[in-house]
Amino acid sequence: MDASIEAFEQHKLIRHENLLWLIVAQGVAIVPLLFHLPLWMWLMWLGAMVWRLRIYAGKLAFPTTVTKFILGTACVAGLMLSYRGQVGVEPMIGFLVCAFILKLLELRTHKDGLLLLFIGFIAVGAQFLFTQTFLMAFYAWASCVALVTAWQTIYLTRRVGVIYKLKSGFLMLLHALPLMVVMFVIMPRLGPLWHVPLPQGAGQTGFSDSLSPGDLGQLVKSQGTAFRVSFNAGQAPSPSGMYWRGLVLDEFDGRTWRLSAQWDMRLKNGQRFVPKPAGGNNLMDYTVQLEPHQYPWLFALAEPIKVTSAKTTRQNIHITQQGLLTAHHPVASRMQYTVLSASADDLTWSALGAAEHTQLLRLPTGTNPQAQALGQSWREQYQAPQAIIAAALKWYNQDFYYTLEPPVLGKHSVDEFLWTTKRGFCEHFASSFAVLMRAAGIPARVVVGYQGGTYNALEDYWRVSQSDAHAWVEVWIAKRWQRVDPTSAVAPQRIEQGIDRALDEQDRALVGAGHYQAPQWLGALRERMDAAGYVWNRWVLNYDTSKQSDLFARWLGGTEPWRIGAAFIGLIAVMLGGYTLWVIRPHGARKTPLQKAIKQFDKTCLTLGYRRYREESLAVFAYRLAEQKREYQAACHDIARISEHVLYREDHADERTLMAALKQFPKPIHHP
């Protein structure tokens, strides 16, 4: 009796096949995390796998309690060293992965296997703290299939193929999917329950808070998406009018433009402009979906008057005095916000303060003497600011050349650019133009951001990529800020048609090999992928309380709790009913076409008053029927004969003939 109990308990041990599945599933779940963790964890993982397989082979023993303790302590110490004692998301995930890996070494029983799989699901969830793209979600789905399949093999004692196992794991998850969607859509969303640290994330992308010659040229070569915009109501402006303002740089040291010291992004909330009471004709309402760039500044068209952020972004957004948007924290995860922008004509502006005026005219003495002299000469020559601007733009239009690979500039960068090299990129034009304006006595500042965008007709949005990065100038004329883009004087195509038109062959190759010369189908595919990503971000990642209420209002006609509850219960009931029919089907072995034909034949015979008994074969019954019903003799004999053929020859052609004969009974079959 004891022996049999022991033998029974043996069933609950992990078998070799389980072990392999568990190792595979663990690998699938763990790999995306390992890329975010210290490198030694790869080695640890490999070591644990080798050790466990050696245990299986009988070459090594399970680790003792002491060994396990030492290993655990070593892992914690390693994590402390790697992260220098910081407490954050990465060390926590590192700890989780360590536990996950070490669990492999004490994998003995079914229960251990289940615990391993449970940690696996947490690991899949942890992946989403780093990446939330559509592809990542797809990968996570695949990980879940691997985990569920490994899980099922623990309890599966029959020998079945790998494909069968994967299929049944996949099907099980597929059955769970509709219920998940219902819960995802309907379950109420709560705010964060307590404060949690955010992952440190990747390096910063986009431009920084200073602009030197050559900065944007590097950025333009990147193909990444900066943000996507959909205009909610009204016409979108033409791409040439889309100047997405990011930062205003108003201090110049002779070479680099920076933020002035007085300018504080966070606190200043008093706007320089207020909407005119009669205005509002040219309002633009649009939603921006910003990719994380690890900086606090956001992008908007001039001039933003109202901004709201989606709940999932967990950040408040302010409009600064300079009409810029800023978030409380650097943008570490994808963020979505809706902006209302008014055109400058509809706003009332307050005057510049004296200090500010001085700041906006300041040029470091002794730098770029030629440019300063030229600006001053213009001031004396033209007086009117408009005329000065026109003169400057005309100057640029003479023999300047727009290129991505300008010559390197020295200390007096503006002078060298204006008189020597005459080849440059948008930041050269903007920088020199602002210097000329200041020298001519017009308050000027450099604005960096993006210009233009690519329309995606599939989902009706604009994609602004890093290669759309741009710099331009704003000048204070007629008591308001006006945008001047000196680049358009040199390379109007840049503004009208985007950067790829403005560059020559050689430069185009620099802007991401193959990106602009991609075959059409690839371009279309890329557009489709981008659209899918956009929809994913918009509807899945940013699905929040407000979207939920919109959806309820549209589908259920209201957001009262009873409606939601009724819808939830109704959907669940329908779904469970469906499952019950589909999954359970108590006698639901699927019938083959032949079995169906036989059933039909039995029915026909029943209407004639003859019942085929359970143990009676088709042939025996047909002969019996032929005896009693002479008129059907031919058909009956055919059926008997063919059914015996099917039985003994196992020929599919016979099977088809039999099905035909059964179906058209009591008519005899046509002999060909």
């Binding site: 699901f121 569920v148 029959r158 972004t313 108590p586």
Partner: protein, 350 residues
């Protein structure tokens, strides 16, 4: 049933503690008795299957909630979606676990008789209609040893166009027989946590099963003197006759040609064969021969000698109060003797 039984090989009777269902279980069993009276064939379905999460099931729910908290705190919709997926998986696994048992048909095929103190092997025939088959089902009698089985899906073949034939699969479930007589094995438990071990689906079946349990053979001296003597029906038996009448332990002075060499060769001790005279030609196993033993042990001793004579090839008869079986020597005879011993009501003997 037909396997030769060596009484000496039977393990000594284990004193198994009487198993009693807990109070909760007693209520549950009473409820089951009301719902389903004993039957020889039971079809598993929603009337007799029960489901409840296992410990691991609750653990998994906890895991899903943990992920939900993580997703809520990070406002991460994908982690929330994962937690909902796991909860849905738990719900769906209820149905999968149920479907794994539903539709199974359990029929009592019979039981091999056994001796008290042995396991009685009940044979059940299982058949199912599920195309995927039924996996990892644990089955045991109340208080018995568990065993697992898989029901292989009926092979879909074109060679059976009638589609009516259902393959069935025999499984053997053992129950300890502690006393001789009839063994009713109690309720049959069928349970499964397949496919994920999160949900346990089970049933307690009232199966109409019964097995005959022979007395546990007990070695005792065969009192040769008393062979039919007290009956006085066949005259005075005389030891030293021609007919073999029994064995007794060898005593100095017994004739050497009467020594049971076969026994000696098997190292079962030195016995002398005793021969009764012609008047008493038959060997009788008699209730009265073992009067010095308590009644149950008396039956055990009779059982031992019945098996022994059967093995030695000596025809033997059985005389019990109110029951007499004439001497014979074949499998059928042995079985009727053994079952007479099994069924004997000691209260009849006074």
């Amino acid at each position: 049933m037909d396997a030769p039984i060596n009484p000496a090989a039977i393990a000594p009777l284990k004193a198994s503690a009487p198993l009693k269902p807990s109070r909760w279980q007693q209520y549950f069993f009473k409820w089951i008795d009301k719902r389903s009276p004993p039957a020889a064939t039971v079809l598993l379905g929603r009337k007799n299957l029960y489901t409840f999460p296992t410990v691991m099931g609750f653990g998994f729910l906890g895991l899903s909630l943990l992920l939900w908290v993580l997703g809520t705190n990070y406002q991460n919709n994908l982690i929330l979606a994962l937690s909902y997926l796991l909860i849905s998986l738990l719900v769906v696994s209820i149905l999968h676990t149920y479907a794994n048992l539903a539709g199974l048909n359990i029929r009592v095929a019979g039981a091999k008789p056994a001796f008290a103190g042995e396991q009685v092997h009940f044979v059940l025939e299982v058949s199912g209609t599920r195309a995927k088959g039924n996996d990892n089902i644990v089955v045991r009698w109340w208080g018995g040893d568990p065993m697992t089985f898989d029901f292989e899906p009926p092979a879909v073949s074109t060679s059976q166009p009638t589609g009516t034939s259902q393959q069935s699969q025999p499984i053997t479930v053992s129950q300890m027989a502690s006393r001789r007589g009839y063994l009713r094995p109690g309720k049959l438990l069928l349970e499964s946590t397949y496919p994920l071990g999160l949900i346990r689906c089970w049933t307690w079946l009232n199966l109409d099963a019964c097995a005959v349990v022979y007395p546990k053979p007990l070695k005792a001296d065969f009192p040769a003197i008393s062979l039919g003597a007290k009956q006085g029906q066949h005259g005075e038996p005389t030891t030293g006759g021609d007919d073999f009448s029994g064995l007794k332990e060898y005593r100095a002075g017994d004739p050497i040609k009467h020594i049971a060499w076969k026994h000696y060769a098997r190292e079962q001790g030195l016995y002398s064969k005793e021969y009764a005279s012609a008047q008493e030609a038959d060997t009788w196993l008699q209730w009265q021969s073992f009067l010095h033993l308590p009644p149950e042990e008396r039956l055990s001793a009779l059982c031992y000698w019945a098996l022994e004579f059967d093995r030695l090839g000596v025809p033997y008869g059985l005389r019990l109060p109110g029951k007499q079986l004439p001497p014979g020597l074949d499998d059928g005879h042995r079985l009727s003797v053994l079952s007479a011993l099994a069924r004997f009501d000691t209260s009849l003997a006074g």
